[in-house]
Amino acid sequence: MFEYSSLLTFIALTAILAFSFYAVLIAGQLSLAQVGLASLAAFTSSLVVPNEPLFGFIPPLLIGVVFGMAVGVIAAFVLGLPVMRLRGVFLAIATLAFGEMVRIFLINQSWTNGAQGLSFPKLVGIETAWIALALVAFWFWRLSGSRMGRAFAAIREDELAATTMGIDVPRYRMASFVIAGAVAGLYGVLFAHFTRFADPNQFSFEAAVDGLVTAVVGGTTFFVGPLLGSVFLSTLPELQRTLGIDAGWIRPAISGLLLLVVILFLPGGLAGLIPRRRSSTKLVSDPAALPQLEPLPARGTEVMSLRGLGKSYGGVRAVHDVDLTLATGEILGLIGPNGAGKTTLVNMVTGVTAPTGGSGTVLGIELAAKTRAHRLASAGIARTFQQIKLFNRLSALDNVLVGGYRISRDTLLRRLVFLPSARRFERQAAAVASAQLIRVGLGDKATTAAGDLSYGDQRRLEIARALASHPTLLVLDEPAAGMNHVEAERLSELIRSLAADGVAVLIIEHNVRMMLALCDRITVLNFGEVIAAGTPEEIARDPRVLEAYLGADGDAAAATAAEELAEVAADAVKGHDDAAGTEDAR
């Protein structure tokens, strides 16, 4: 034993605890249950750790670790069932309550010896602690580039967008919870068997906050963060001792000050100091890397059929009695003044909002109250949002990679053992994503964070992300907003080419001129009801449509739309007359 062996061991152990917080933070969840889980694992492990190696060769600690991790996993799962629906601070409070419950429970058990604590055999030394840390860090390193890791990041950035990419958000949130439970269990067992003693009061609220602070100070976007946080916070007291700062209040004050400095000036945590590429994945523009994708259904296959679909909020009918069908290869436009119910309709079609009346089938899935958006997404529906919902802190390419969730495979297990197929699958996913990114003209901005892109680029990135899922039905909610005429025309071309490939497109757009030129059919909504449906020519001539737009007082977009509508209608009439004139001349 040398002077700093305990310090070094604590650095490893604290880092493992921080990793259990990291596991939930990367999925955007603030859970403070980990310390309680660690406590539960530590104390229950005392019931099973034998004095002698099992069967003569299985070390007692290994049994404790496996058991403790299992306890952590099971307890996290059971806790997760009721609290998974909570978000943000509510989740934090619920999990905090769980930790307190565990503490009170353990204090009142006779086998834990209550508040007087329990002695443990010393089975953990500096080597064991660092080996355990290395394994945990390795797991998170391999996780970060896998499909699962991307799904976590997507959930952290925007849950709704993640759901509509086909990610089963509750399942992944539970997964992150359970992973945190396993790591916390490992920490609990190792900690007790290193310090030789544990009492339930050690695993308190303060300990939970310490773990959280360590993870956040280290940084939650890079897998070395928890280790850096642990090194920083564990060495501070020792450093101050070595520097000869007098014992007493001054030391915690200095520690607090340094903590403040780190939080203020390094929002990404200490890991933010490590220079690295924004995105771990690079653009793959080699067409040979593209995988063979499943062919789309034959042109003309019906993919959406709505019968009397409606949605009312209390007495307000947002959408009422809408009949609508759409087939592959078709472009269906949805127009109407603001508040007409277009987005509500689209939300119902994509499973984001449950209908309250009528029925509908999308890609073979019945629209019902419990139809979840990710199921529709995995069936082949992809969408963009009126209010842009990108994963802002992820690079453009990573955003599109998340979009490819549906058609890629999870590579975590393969990555853990470095199977060559993991590389191949990752490359294929990157190739699909790169192709879509290049298709919308963002190839040169692949590594830029989505949040740093211009408004128009963000719109295009959303489309690329939707396309990356190789959808059968593409839903675009105001894709041309903020684009100039040239850009809108380029977008129209893109949409036409998609329809030509056999994709069914449902599009909402205020740019009436563009819609009339682009769509095969247009349905007009006003006050939640269909007031007109037909070919663009029929719509342009329909006086009810113009009336609806003119009736929308004080709406600049509606005024523009009405103007455009009138112009186009006039053009159409003129064209008709010209044609008639020519005929007459014959």
Binding site: S6, R103, T195, T235, R251
Partner: protein, 392 residues
């Protein structure tokens, strides 16, 4: 970019500086290894050339800071007093464990590798259970001056303490109270989420059984509770001859006050947690008649004790408490152990500590028994006229 690099460089150099500082710290244990700690003569004539390094780990910050700071004060005073005697000079290092076992373990590591002859502390029993095995393995004697929980000295033959356990004090308290009030049936209350109060409860339960007193009811609460009215109502209904309470002072004050408020007139018997001037200043009138067993009492007329209280009050501008007295006595015991073999070597101090018998200290005459626990007379006190008085 430049600012990012700057901060990276700054962070990196800080770390390097830290590592350099760590590696260049000279091990202070050179003297010990050279054998310069063995002196000539014995007892009062003992003379050791080198300073004997004494290390102490107390909780100077964190939850137990109030105890740790009086321990530190008293220990420093004891070292100054003993250094004046001459012959043996002590070099004291006091470190903070921040009431955190992780810190305490690292502090102990540091003490052991820097060559401390003996370690005094740590403040809390549960911390001692984590730190003392390290000293035991390294063969460094430890003298606890405030650990009262069971199982501390069982850690190993290098672990001693001068603090009386609850098991030593409480039977005397119960016996005195039974004799005074003729108790037959009592209600016991304790906070079950604290190691100290829980072991106090166990000692009470055992002592009451020994005395043949019936426990009508046992009520538990949390150490952070401050409202005991519901529990006290329940206790009142059983009409006990006395309330027996094991609680820390933070709970003791409201508990005693509220018991008197709702009209419980029965005597209240407290554990060591009640032995604080805060009981009287906090509970005032209500504290009258409360019986407290303790290892030390400020009213004790022991000559050394009177001098100690006077000197301490003058130097630190406040009266000493039991933690201070036990820390001061701890240094007196260490001094005796060093002088016994006239050596500051770890093994010799260990042998010396084992041989302490009837040493006059501020706590009274202290002996260390075969279990390495201290034995001295405990005091049963009663609050009378706003003061702790000895119950005769």
């Amino acid at each position: 970019m430049s600012s990012r690099h700057l901060s990276a460089i700054a962070g990196g150099s800080l770390l390097l500086l830290a590592l350099a500082a760590c590696s260049t710290t000279p091990p202070a244990g050179d003297d010990a290894e050279a054998g310069g700690l063995v002196g000539t003569g014995t007892g009062a004539e003992c003379s050791i050339e080198s300073e004997v390094p004494i290390a102490a780990a107390f909780s100077l910050t964190g939850a137990a800071a109030q105890y740790g700071s009086s321990q530190k004060n008293a220990l420093e005073m004891a070292v100054d007093d003993l250094n004046e005697v001459g012959g043996v000079t002590y070099a004291l290092t006091v470190e903070d464990d921040a009431t955190d076992p992780q810190q305490a373990i690292q502090v102990f590591d540091g003490f052991i590798s820097s060559g401390a002859s003996v370690i005094i502390g740590p403040t809390l029993s549960n911390t001692a259970k984590q730190t003392n095995p390290i000293a035991q393995e390294a063969g460094v004697p430890v003298l606890g001056v405030s650990n009262t929980a069971a199982g501390i000295t069982e850690i190993g033959d290098y672990i001693f303490r001068d603090s009386l356990t609850e098991d030593a004090v409480i039977p005397q308290t119960v016996a005195a109270a039974v004799e005074e009030f003729g108790l037959e049936k009592v209600v016991v209350m304790y906070s079950n989420d604290d190691a100290f109060t829980e072991s106090g409860y166990q000692a009470f339960a055992a002592a009451l059984e020994d005395e043949g007193v019936e426990v009508i009811e046992t009520l538990t609460f949390s150490k952070t509770d401050t409202d005991f009215r519901a529990l006290l109502d329940k206790a009142k209904q059983s009409d006990p001859d006395a309330l027996v309470v094991s609680a820390l002072i933070e709970a003791a004050v409201p508990l005693v006050t509220q018991a008197r408020e709702i009209g419980i007139d029965a005597p209240i018997i407290g554990g060591n947690g009640f032995n604080s001037p805060a009981l009287i200043s906090g509970a005032g009138e209500a504290a009258e008649g409360v019986i407290v067993g303790a290892a030390w009492n400020s009213a004790s007329e022991n000559e050394q004790n009177v001098a100690f209280i006077e000197a301490y009050t003058e130097r630190f501008d406040g009266a000493p408490d039991q933690f201070a007295a036990q820390a001061y006595a701890g240094m007196q015991i260490v001094d005796e152990a060093v002088r016994a073999n006239c050596s500051g070597e770890r093994e010799d101090i260990k042998a010396g500590l084992g041989g302490i018998t009837g040493l006059p200290t501020v706590l009274g005459d202290v002996s260390i028994n075969e279990n390495r626990d201290a034995e001295h007379e405990a005091l049963v006190q009663v609050v009378e006229g706003g003061k702790f008085a000895i119950l005769d």
